[in-house]
Amino acid sequence: MNRAALAALKSVYDPEVGLDVVTMGLVYGLAQDDATLRVDMTLTSPNCPLGDSIVAMAREALWGVSGERKVDLRLVWEPPWSPRMISAEGVRTLQGGG
């Protein structure tokens, strides 16, 4: 399930940066039990102008793989996101090598 949820989140792109939210390092945690699929994620900043859209897309993507479980997507702000959290593969893509 975690693998499916992670794959679903990898289909959610930041439309400005062009990277998916997992590669961007925006997903902080992923857990599940019988009733709930819980995801902790953040945004590039609390005032990210694309926040609503990214959250909506992530919820929608998770809903597609959650089965009968409820999707509990929480926005967290600690630790604050920094571009250092972008994966090495993502950095290569941004710098034109990927």
């Binding site: 792109y13 439309p15 400005e16 940066v17 062009g18 945004l43 590039t44 900043s45 609390p46 005032n47 990210c48 102008p49 694309l50 926040g51 609503d52 859209s53 959250v55 909506a56 897309m57 919820r59 929608e60 993507a61 998770l62 809903w63 089965g67 009968e68 409820k70 999707v71 997507l73 926005l75 920094s82 571009p83 250092r84 972008i86 950095v91 941004l94 710098q95 034109g96």
Partner: protein, 436 residues
């Protein structure tokens, strides 16, 4: 197995993070469309007037019309639109008085059109549309001050903008005094000094402080820079305020007896800003895209503007009207214009994407476009390629008093403006018919 539709997650329509605070789409977009039109008109008028620049006094009425088409129609219109759009990002508060801002746009648009038109044609009754411009600016100032008053905190970007808004109030007041004095000639003891104060309060106090403050946020954001400083621009703001206030008071009261001191302080402010921008750009995660290339061009233009200012203050350059025109051109087209164009290549696609493609219900079946797909990168690079010679060939034309260079530079400027308008149209083509 069919999923229970009622368990489908609901996106945060209207109650989300940014959308609930964002101004309506039409408010910033009207500003940006009007500004693009003014940019093109400015470039066209520049081509038309190119044969008359050399030897003309910078206070010639048609030149004042041309300058105000750029400063008010292009630059200030863009900045008002951007501040409306960025209020939730910059001040973490929704824009207050959105209807007032909408009314201000109408007043400002018609006021600028009339003011510039009457100046260009040499009419004396330009005070009528000028008073509309002043009324509009006061409305905008009210909106921004009201919004900032509701902000939970003002960071250094917000502080720069707050200072700039204060300077704008002084700029329009001094502009009114200058206009009255021009017709009656009885108020100002040093009209030339008052003009120097007006120009610098506008270009440094209003325009540049907004650019500097906003660039700490936007350039970091778009370059994905992991700069850690919590106090960007503290020294820049201090030096700029001291240098500008000193220059304005000195020029207004004495005609400018200590211009060298103020020129050094303002240049030091710019060097401090450059140093911070260098740190931001060094820590960037992204390659240089076209928006960042325009920003780099703007930084170079700002340095040239400072160099010309020092040259004029220390008399290294002959203080004649062509050098003064080069100085103002370096500020408006060398420094301010590339910065605005570069940021617009990010802001316009963002606005259209948010309005047209941002998911508000279930995700559409087709993949959503990226923002970069809403604009033409090729046209944007062509804009860049045209703007570089537009700046530096024209500057050379002023400094070498060459009509041929001025003609070539003005044609490059018109090409850059035409391409900018074309790219704006490419982005707006994504809007559904009937979108306001």
């Amino acid at each position: 197995m069919e999923k229970n539709v009622e368990t489908r997650p609901q996106p945060p329509v209207g109650g989300g993070l940014y959308l609930a605070k964002a101004p309506p789409f039409w408010l910033p977009m009207r500003h940006f469309v009007a500004a693009a039109a003014a940019f093109w008109l400015f470039a066209a008028a520049f081509v038309y007037g190119r044969g008359r620049f050399l030897g003309f006094d910078i206070q010639a009425q048609w030149i004042l019309g041309l300058v105000h088409l750029a400063t008010l129609g292009w630059v200030t219109m863009s900045m008002f639109g951007a501040l409306c759009q960025l209020a939730p990002v910059l001040w973490e508060a929704p824009l207050r008085g959105q209807r007032v801002a909408g009314l201000a746009w109408w007043l400002f648009s018609f006021g600028v059109a009339g003011f510039v038109g009457l100046l260009w044609t040499g009419r004396a009754d330009y005070w009528i549309p000028a008073s509309m411009v002043v009324a509009a600016v006061l409305l905008y100032l009210g909106v921004f001050v009201w919004t900032m008053a509701a902000a939970p905190k003002l960071d250094w970007t917000g502080k720069h903008v707050a200072n700039a808004v204060g300077y704008l109030a002084v700029v329009v007041t001094l502009g009114l005094l200058l206009a009255y004095d021009r017709e009656r000639g009885v108020i100002l003891s040093h009209p030339a000094g008052a003009l120097i104060a007006h120009i610098h309060l506008a270009l440094v106090g209003w325009v540049s402080l907004v650019i500097v403050g906003v660039s700490y946020r936007l350039v970091s954001m778009f370059a994905l820079s992991h700069i850690e400083s919590k106090t960007p621009g503290r020294l820049t703001l201090l030096l700029a305020n001291v240098g500008l206030a000193g220059l304005a008071v000195d020029a207004f009261c004495t005609g400018g007896e200590h211009l060298r001191l103020w020129a050094v302080l303002l240049t030091a402010a710019y060097v401090s800003y450059l140093s911070h921008m260098r740190n931001i750009l060094k820590a960037r995660t992204r390659n240089v895209d076209v928006a960042l290339a325009f920003t780099l061009l703007a930084l170079l233009g700002g340095a040239v503007w400072c160099a010309l200012g020092l040259g004029l203050a220390f008399h290294g350059l002959v203080d004649d009207t062509n050098v003064e025109q080069a100085y103002v051109f370096a500020a408006l087209v060398g420094w301010v214009t590339p910065f605005i164009v570069g940021q617009m290549h990010k802001i316009l696609p963002f606005l259209v994407w948010l309005h047209v493609y941002s998911p508000r219900g279930a995700l559409p079946a087709a993949p959503l476009p990226k923002m970069a797909d809403l604009t033409s990168r090729r046209v944007a690079w062509l804009e860049f390629a045209a703007l570089v010679p537009a700046i530096y060939v024209t500057l050379a034309g002023f400094l070498r008093q060459s009509q041929a260079l001025l003609t070539a530079g003005s044609l490059f400027l018109l090409a850059a403006a035409t391409l900018y308008v074309a790219n704006t149209a490419i982005t707006l083509r994504h809007l559904p018919r009937g979108a306001s």
